[in-house]
Amino acid sequence: MSRKFESLIGNRSFLIGTIITLIVALMAGLSFLWTPYSVSALDIVAKLKPPSISHWLGTDHFGRDILSMIMVGSRASIFVAFVSVAIGAGIGVPLGLWAAARGGIVDEMLMRFNDLIFAFPALLSAVMITAIFGPGAVNAIIAIGIFNIPVFARVARGAALALWVREFVLAARAIGKGEGRITLDHILPNLANILIIQGTIQFSLGILAEAGLSYVGLGAQPPMPSWGRMLFEAQTMISLAPHMALFPGLAIMVTVLGLNLLGDGLRDFLDPKLRYMR
């Protein structure tokens, strides 16, 4: 009974996660074609209006429609999170595979490199990086991406090491295939599942990180709306217009929740061994 129940939960979180993620993606897509109001036109007279029929989520300190801002703001979150995951996976996975294939000194170096990056407080370092290159979406991507590299490298290495001792790999080796060939033909395809799961997790962490950087003024810059910066603007207005703080935060929370549920569901589905681990 309990097994079945567990897998039902798994499926359910996969389902809910997928639905939420799709809604956010659709919202971002729709924002390219249509938003209730323009986010570039300011209407100071209509500033700080609470939610109403005409503005479902109210207006901000410049009289902009918060619903429209959230819709357009989703682009910055998704863009930054996606590209930083791509950077992390694009550099980290090859590194991890290389270390697993070679072992020895290469492996040791990679592990020490990971230790080194992990030793830096991520957020603080991201702040330093953006201080050097200036605030902006691209630099936020670099700052977040760098810290994704060791995550993917470690996951790829760990999973690849487990595969290298499996029979089909030993067989491939016996017929004289080289390390590179084996990695491409046998290791990488078998890593797809675990990388997709890790990618989902890093994606949701990326959304949180982007929001945090934007909140301290180092993420996407105006006039491009961003959820984190909306929260920053909301802070000084909190006693006058709490709705300004409520909705962008909800948007972040729901998106991250959706991605996490999707990630958990995928894990149950693709990799039952890891069911309980987070």
């Binding site: 009974m1 309990s2 129940f5 567990e6 939960i9 979180s13 020490r112 230790d115 080194l116 992990f118 030793a119 830096f120 407080p121 991520a122 957020l123 603080l124 370092s125 702040v127 330093m128 201080a131 050097i132 949701s204 949180l208 929001a211 945090g212 909140y215 301290v216 929260l231 909301a234 802070q235 909190i238 006693s239 709490p242 703080a245 409520l246 962008p248 935060g249 972040i252 929370m253 729901v254 991250v256 929740l257 996490n260 549920l261 958990d264 309980y276 681990m277 987070r278």
Partner: protein, 315 residues
């Protein structure tokens, strides 16, 4: 045990050394001149140059690195460009805020999370389990600075029970200072507690699934006894790892929450020092934080060995 420990320590020291090179090199390329920043818009060129000389910027890079590193080894972190007091004094003042904040939130999250995790694991699949884990799922997804804003709105703006920000200062009494740390530590603790509860639960479930636990049960030991005496001890390893990571995170990662509450902690010190180009302060604090992370990692590794003596014999 000894060789395992000493290997960990040596690696830790090497990592720290590498980190010092990175920190120094990265900050070397930061654009902006602290001397000009101090003297502002009306400053004459020769006044700016005089201040640069005073700050000792006109020496070669390598020389400055080694003299900085040498001073660090003797515990001398240098003198802040802007405050012109020893960096170590600034750090001490800020740690008096950051450390209590980190400890309170860590304690808070541990007290909440571990019982919930154990409870959920022991009632796996029950409504209570699903509810607790559902809440934890939401807790993980909440950005802590947003949660902080909501707390400010409820407890400072509407109810006026607690300060909205700032730090009273320990010299103004214990209670006012603690009061200014309550909201920040709650804001920090919620996501941490959510993660910790999930890890506790899953790690306990893993252990409960292992053969020796089944054997113990088969031998007729009660469910409770197995849970508390055998399973819990072994389930501690992942929990310890997470706790160690969280401590390091809390010490440095409070930067955004410190910004919400304008707390004069380490994170805000670095943040301000970066904008003021007070690089020697940035270098000092980052090195301390990196050293803390490394030390905590080594300690966690060593405590594995204590919890699980099998590790003693492994490399």
């Amino acid at each position: 045990m000894l060789s395992y420990a000493s290997k960990r320590v040596v690696i830790g020291i090497l990592t720290l050394l590498a980190a010092s090179i990175i920190v120094f090199a990265v900050l070397e390329v930061v654009p902006g001149d602290p001397a000009r920043l101090m003297l502002g818009m009306n400053a004459t060129e020769d006044a700016v140059r005089a201040l640069q000389d005073q700050m000792g910027f006109n020496q070669p890079l390598i020389l400055r690195y080694f003299s900085w590193l040498g001073d660090l080894l003797t515990g001398d972190f240098g003198k802040s460009y802007t405050y012109s007091v020893p960096v170590i004094d600034l750090i001490k003042e800020r740690i008096a805020v950051s450390l209590p904040l980190a400890l309170i939130s860590l304690a808070l999250s541990t007290i909440i999370a571990i019982p919930i995790g154990i409870f959920a694991a022991s009632r796996r699949g029950s409504t209570a389990d699903t509810t607790a884990m559902g809440i934890a799922q939401v807790g993980v997804a909440i950005p802590n600075f947003w949660f902080a804003l909501l707390l400010v709105y409820i407890f400072a703006v509407v109810l006026r029970l607690l300060p909205a920000g700032g730090f009273a200062g320990w010299e103004n009494g214990f209670w006012p200072s603690i009061k200014s740390l309550i909201l920040p530590s709650v804001a920090l603790a919620l996501p941490q507690a959510s993660i910790l509860a999930r890890v506790t639960r899953s790690s306990l479930l893993d252990v409960l699934g292992e053969d020796y636990i089944r054997t113990a049960r088969a031998k007729g030991l009660s469910r409770r006894k197995v849970l508390y005496h055998h399973a819990l001890r072994n389930a501690l390893i992942p929990v310890l790892t997470i706790l160690g990571m969280q401590f390091s995170f809390l010490l440095a990662g409070t930067i955004i929450v410190e910004n919400v509450f304008y707390l004069p902690g380490l994170g805000r010190l670095v943040f301000q020092a970066i904008t003021q180009r007070d690089l020697i302060v940035v270098e000092g604090v980052v090195m301390i934080l990196v050293a803390t992370v490394i030390a905590v990692n080594v300690l966690v590794d060593l405590s594995y060995a204590i919890v699980d003596p099998r590790l003693w014999s492994r490399k």
